[in-house]
Symmetry: C2
Subunit: 633 residues, 2 copies
């Protein structure tokens, strides 16, 4: 049973670190991404909106048009942008964003076919092949993102126009899969969690039925893709219909234990599974979600919260296989892990879920966007070697610097929509309690009546104050596992506390109460499990939720000859990293070897100081050596 609801998008008015990022999304990323999609820049031009214009012309008989540009799921870029714009319009009230969003919604609505079908690739290119290639063609995936956008727009504005378009689309899908009983499920999960949102926004149970259907049917028939492949008579990429793990269709979802296949598909699916488990009290399904959660977080996750160890299928591989230089760790996969975590926390109040969400957010996820909001990483390796990373065949995915766009541009708008909706996850609630899941400065107006103001310089300052402006419910504050020394003051007085499943509970503080939490502000060394064979002998460095990295530019141009002194000190530096965060300094050893590749002579050693910056701020100063993990010496 669901223990916690997300807050409404209007609930949280950000301040501090999150406001800064939401302003970048508002003033830079959203206008920039719109301009790319609308072909308003000399380059990049994605033609995303032109596809809708062309499809509308064809559907409305203006002329016989079949010009489609981009990848089969190109529409989803517009959907994710619209979702981000809806959140941003709600929190900022910016009329320019609202106007752009209205324009995009009109284009989308115009491209809907009379029966509710909506997908410009199929309308333009393959009108006779709808629903024939679930393995490859992303129709349900695109519909899912579009539904999420419509729900966000409805929630942000109260307007039903976009919601109605997507209800009609969802009804069309319901008819196809439920009424007409066509077999199959989407090759790329996403619609499951979207339909749950649509159900919650509309109260219409058939969307829950459809979401549950896609969860229940997945992987129950291991020949489905092959049958579909045999009869479809066309292909998009020519994916192998026997490769079932890639799309988590190798077994019924309740029987899945290991996180496998394409990492974004996986975590979107698991998020949808958790949604259905929470809404239908399906303990077997929630148990499967917990097993998959453990598989990820105990065996298959980078220290940055990144997931997906290989570019081969952008996928999970095996337990403890976490190569640093060839990591995939897609920005979208970090977002998807956060979505999964947030739904697990709804089903089971346990701080471990938001511990991981926080880790993924501040590291693998936030690394996906340049500090200026206009360039993006798709892949987030934990090591950058100039001349190798992004250059040789095994590392060609692991680009050294962020790009202004991608042919497959899933990540940029995904980053925008999650940053713009941060409050939904940062704060949660149920009838009797409000949950401070993530430390997020700003004002929060909960649905259950509580109103509070959070003041903090988190994630670089570890004092967090909650001023209760309207009380009467319990306040639960997550205490991260990283915080080994935490103090709680209520109205200035240090107070004993117990942590229950990762949260401190303050019983019904009255209006005017001041809650002050001082978290552990010490930098720490992180030691990997010995089974992580790529990290034997290595350590990483963190402070709070922030994983740090060592860039050449701060370390005499040479990180590869740097080792951290075993039991050496780790201190917060006076200098700032790009973006203004404090650097860390570590006592280090500089190793000097001779010219030959291999030598009997141990390296000469010299005492040095290594300087680390937050991982997410990496590559803001060009292509330079970068490591998260350094050997100890």
């Amino acid at each position: 049973m669901k223990q916690m609801e997300f807050t409404n998008i209007h609930a949280y008015k950000a301040d501090g670190f999150i406001r800064n990022w939401q302003e970048i999304i508002h003033t830079q990323a959203i206008p920039y991404q719109y301009a790319v999609m609308a072909d308003q820049l000399p380059e990049p031009q994605s033609h995303t909106l032109q596809n809708f214009i062309n499809a509308a012309k064809k559907i409305h008989g203006v002329h016989d048009e079949n010009d489609f540009t981009g990848i089969v799921f190109h529409d989803s870029d517009a959907a994710k942008w619209a979702e981000a714009a809806a959140y941003t319009a709600a929190t900022t009230g910016d009329p320019d964003i609202a106007a752009k969003l209205d324009a995009v919604i009109r284009l989308i609505a115009d491209a809907q076919e009379p029966d509710g079908y909506l997908n410009t690739y199929f309308s333009l290119r393959r009108p006779d092949k709808k629903w024939t290639n679930l393995l490859e063609a992303h129709e349900l995936y695109c519909a899912g993102h579009m539904i999420e956008a419509a729900v966000a727009h409805y929630e942000a504005t109260g307007k039903r126009n976009f919601l109605d378009v997507m209800r009609k689309n969802a009804d069309h899908i319901y008819k196809h899969f439920i009424t007409e009983r066509h077999e199959g499920w989407g090759g790329h999960p996403e619609i499951e969690l979207a339909l749950v949102k649509l159900y919650q926004a509309t109260g219409d149970e058939k969307y829950l039925v459809l979401a549950k259907h896609f969860i229940d049917v997945r992987g129950t028939d291991t020949d489905f893709y092959s049958r579909e492949n045999d009869r479809k008579g066309w292909k998009y990429w020519g994916m192998n219909p026997k490769d079932l793990t890639y799309s988590q269709a190798h077994a019924p979802v309740r029987q899945q234990k290991d996180a496998v296949g394409h990492a974004v598909r996986a975590a979107y699916l698991y998020a949808g599974m958790a949604d259905i488990a929470n809404l239908t009290d399906d303990s077997a399904l929630f148990c499967a979600c917990k097993n998959l959660w453990d598989s990820i977080t105990k065996k298959r996750m980078y220290v940055t919260g990144g997931i997906g160890s290989t570019k081969d299928g952008e996928a999970f591989t095996g337990d403890y296989d976490l190569p640093n230089d060839t990591a995939y760790a897609e920005s979208c996969a970090a977002a998807a892990l956060i979505f999964f975590a947030a739904r697990m926390a709804q089903g089971e109040i346990d701080g471990k879920y938001y511990d991981i969400a926080e880790l993924a957010f501040y590291n693998a996820f936030l690394a996906g966007i340049q500090l200026d909001g206009k360039k993006f990483f798709y892949v987030n390796p934990l090591e950058n070697i100039p001349g190798i990373s992004g250059k040789i065949s095994t590392h060609n995915h692991a680009l050294s610097v962020r790009q202004d766009w991608f042919a497959c541009a899933c990540c940029p708008p995904n980053i925008a929509r999650l940053l713009a909706s941060f409050g939904k996850y940062a704060y949660g609630e149920n009838e009797g309690t409000v949950f401070c899941n993530l430390y997020a400065a700003g004002k929060v107006q909960f649905g259950n009546g509580v109103q509070l103001q959070c003041t903090t310089g988190y994630p670089f300052d570890f004092n967090v104050q909650y001023s209760i402006q309207h009380g009467g419910k319990d306040i639960a504050v997550r205490i991260p596992a990283y915080s080994r020394h935490t103090t709680l003051k209520i109205d200035g007085k240090e107070t004993e506390y117990t942590i229950k499943n990762g949260y401190i509970y303050i019983k019904k503080p009255i209006s005017g109460t001041k809650i002050e939490i001082q978290l552990d502000n010490m930098p720490h060394k992180i030691y990997p499990h010995t089974k992580i064979f790529e990290n034997s002998g290595n350590v990483a460095v963190s402070r709070g939720p922030i994983i740090y990295c060592f860039e050449g530019i701060d370390n005499a141009g040479d990180v590869l000859s740097l080792a951290l002194k075993r039991s050496g000190t780790l201190t917060v530096g006076a200098d700032t990293a790009p973006g203004g965060a404090p650097v860390l300094h570590a006592q280090a050893i500089r190793l000097q070897t001779g010219q030959s590749l291999y030598s009997f002579d141990p390296p000469k050693t010299a005492i040095d100081t290594a300087t680390a910056i937050p991982y997410y701020t990496r590559a803001n100063r060009g292509d330079t050596e970068m490591r998260v993990w350094l050997p100890e010496y």
Copy 2:
């Protein structure tokens, strides 16, 4: 100018370590490989000889046959086997091997077309497409291996039948490329060094002209593959004609500086280049060879002498990119590096060449064959992780245990032919000097009249005695760079010496002289250059030319939690590794981490002893964790 000749195959009668391996080749590998090629076993069956039988039937009009089995260069397996058999027949006088060899030569001769053309793939499958696909189709490669076999057979037996077949074939190729001036060069170099052998065996200069032509023309026309691709009207794999580096055709060879592309192709080419440079006094070409040598040995070679860092094209990648778990380090590439080294040493007497040849031989090369002679590795990674190696997409090439055959079976007969002809490289000569390049027990009868007996338990005993049975020329003995403490005794008396370019020279010892060399027998730790980013903080262990590795089976099933104690001792153990070599013991630290993937708590440590076995004996006891490099603690 050539400074050193290879010895004749009859010159060296092996004893000790080499005799043991030559007996395994003689009694196990050669009969086994013949049985596979002749389809005499239930499995594996390669149908290699059946292709010749079928081609002969078609050529001689017995019936219209087009049944070909295997890969386009399948013929070369028979060629390499025949070469190995010829050497073995020469050194053992075994009539059964000689009879099998005669039978194979008859099959080959019967499959030659009247104009001299010889290639069963084309005769059977593509008779109208000869010489139209140099990029992919390996015709010159197969011819090269067949020529090498014919020269070996001639050298071993004095019989000209096979040699005449291949002269006719070489004449056919000469006519095509020189007389008729058809453009192009072989996509897979090999024929260059083979034609040099044919020139030396026959004295016919046109084979030298043809070899030099293939060297000179390579990479001079970067559009050749594309033009060929446009006009050929068929494809084998559909290789990209614009990928010129893969086959070292991106620039004229004299301008090439970095070792690039497919590692076997590269080292075969470089060997041929060195041959031509040596024979034609082409200093610009030799200079290019030296640059390429330096590129390999100073920046792109594993500590085992393995080359080829990635399965993508079985290729070199970039400087210092030497991943352990995903290494390619093909057995054939190690052989090819030895061929290249041996030719460099012919052009410039410098011990550094045979230092590398020795390293590659005892490690990356010898690891390719099971101790029983019947199973083989194609790929020789420096780390084996059960469940990952050979199992997941990024590691599917890095098999954990040797195989009884391969669809592409280039390595097994390559290993056989090099082991069977070890003496050619171990000892060299010129008019005034004999060269002991590698420590190889046995009797040697040089062409210049010197006769000696070498007595040693090398590579596990480091006392090497040469008894001069017929003297009168200078004796040059390579002193490996690894030997930091070397003593020389002449007739029992310790003698001062100087090392000149890696060799000790003993001036004209008379018959009866005893030369005794005591090499450094200490185990050593090896430290990698700090730029080798996969090995930061790691050490390897060696003794003499042998690189050791740590297998789980000797180390409580867990190598990943083992670190070597910094400045800890390294001793020769009383136990023996598979094959009888002594193990090494290293003072070690056992690390114990908790259950979580990442922790603030440093691992608990316990004193331990790590046991290492020679790398080449790895995986003789099943799939077990294996590492060449361990962290230091």
